[in-house]
Assembly symmetry: C2
Homo-oligomer: 308 residues x 2
Amino acid sequence: MRLVTVGSVAFDAIETPFGKTDKIVGGAGTFITLSASFFMKNQGIISVVGDDFPNQTLEFMGSRGIDTSGIQIKHGEKTFFWSGKYHNDMNSRDTLTTELNVLEHFDPIVPEGFTNAEYLMLGNLSPQVQRLVIERMEKRPKLIAMDTMNFWMDIAMEDLMKTISMVDVLIINDEEARQLSKEYSLMKASKIIRAMGPKILIIKKGEHGALLFHENEVFFAPALPLEEVFDPTGAGDTFAGGFMGYIASTDDISFENMKRAIIAGSALASFSVEKFGTTRLTEITELEMEERMHQFVSLTNFQMIQHA
Amino acid sequence: MRLVTVGSVAFDAIETPFGKTDKIVGGAGTFITLSASFFMKNQGIISVVGDDFPNQTLEFMGSRGIDTSGIQIKHGEKTFFWSGKYHNDMNSRDTLTTELNVLEHFDPIVPEGFTNAEYLMLGNLSPQVQRLVIERMEKRPKLIAMDTMNFWMDIAMEDLMKTISMVDVLIINDEEARQLSKEYSLMKASKIIRAMGPKILIIKKGEHGALLFHENEVFFAPALPLEEVFDPTGAGDTFAGGFMGYIASTDDISFENMKRAIIAGSALASFSVEKFGTTRLTEITELEMEERMHQFVSLTNFQMIQHA
């Protein structure tokens, strides 16, 4: 198998200035794998749901080439549920409910066909669970990427540091980078964090784009300026999934290819926020994607000439 | 004359987490013209100072090819003075003192040799003063650019709209664009603001770069990620001065050249914040500038290939 992702498969209920949903399908693992599925078929997901989770969604994921045999279905238990409300500027949100349910005692079983995956994506989960997945792989994947959040820095810093030291790529946002490094300047933070283990650091800045750090190189991918952000939920996971899907499908971990992968992830994230949940993510056509990639090129491309 | 700028020539006293200055030379007009002087010699400035202003600074500006004969010296009066203190994140500041002094009754006299300038830069001043300068030109310049701030939106909106309708390029920050358009989305704001008159809008986002809007085109210039921002005072004016200096010196108002001009302005601004006031701005060598322009290229440049 080319790519394996561990991450939540969940229900979300979302309120934005544009509207409100009932429980809809969400979760980091869902966004990551659906996003990666734009580029590839040969991938699997490790997760856990309750018996309230719609079989239809698992079938849909299967139809997108995602092997869902690593999703445990816990009978008599309920799926992880999160609900939140976005503020008017869409840049901040309040969490209204977090019901861990099946995630509380999640033992990430790695199916046999998954253990030789070349690419591994650790979605935002407890660092112990993330580490278990690495340890249960038969061979060390070619590239391990990891997402996390400030919550784990607050309650499980020691465990988090251990897991971070085992990965190649850390993907976090600017606030998280500042908290993890205790340094406000992202340039300084990037050095401190890479000294913790990951050779590559990606700092997501939401509507302000993303930075990719490797050795002495920095690459900046802008976010596409959008008229409207309808629902930002899952944009970060979509970005990470697009990044890993692009890299796994091209099987090229050079810095040059990571730049392209970041643009690909940014493009997919720019679609994702156009509708609630995963809706838009599953509708993107090859043509739309190609057009959007070109928008990124024209957004940042310039030709220098010598001045007089 | 190629480029004329109207803008304050002033004293600043600055406090940052890194240190504190006494009264040093600042002012939008000073930063703009010194920045533009990196690219060109044939420029003039219209401003006013008191007899407390150091003749040495005027001589230094002259040595950089800036014609200071448009700076009125008011005997027995004092130069405009601003003091401010930056917060720890350097993204926000408190104004401690604003003494308008000579600026209170500033009548912007345009010297004879200035009235046929091909490029006109209106630094942040009252919109009445900015408009007077446009009206006092002998012929309509090829390109008029304008800066402003929320203060004028609060107290002189009608006058501001009149001046805005007369210019080609408006250069403001994201907060100002939102206040002026009453629209949070910068994409929507850009349309509303360009309907007010300026064909071209530049929205500065500080450490998050700048957006250039023209018709259906958008260009994004990142800010260079810096280890340390020592003093952000004048960074916006340095950016505007570099932009106009580049355009005036190349005498090319195409969209392609404006992209280069924005990168040039961003590069100069990235130097400007390395030391207090205008210090760093006057030390930049051709080689340093060339290296920094290349940093911008490598920061954003990527080559797309077709994915499988």
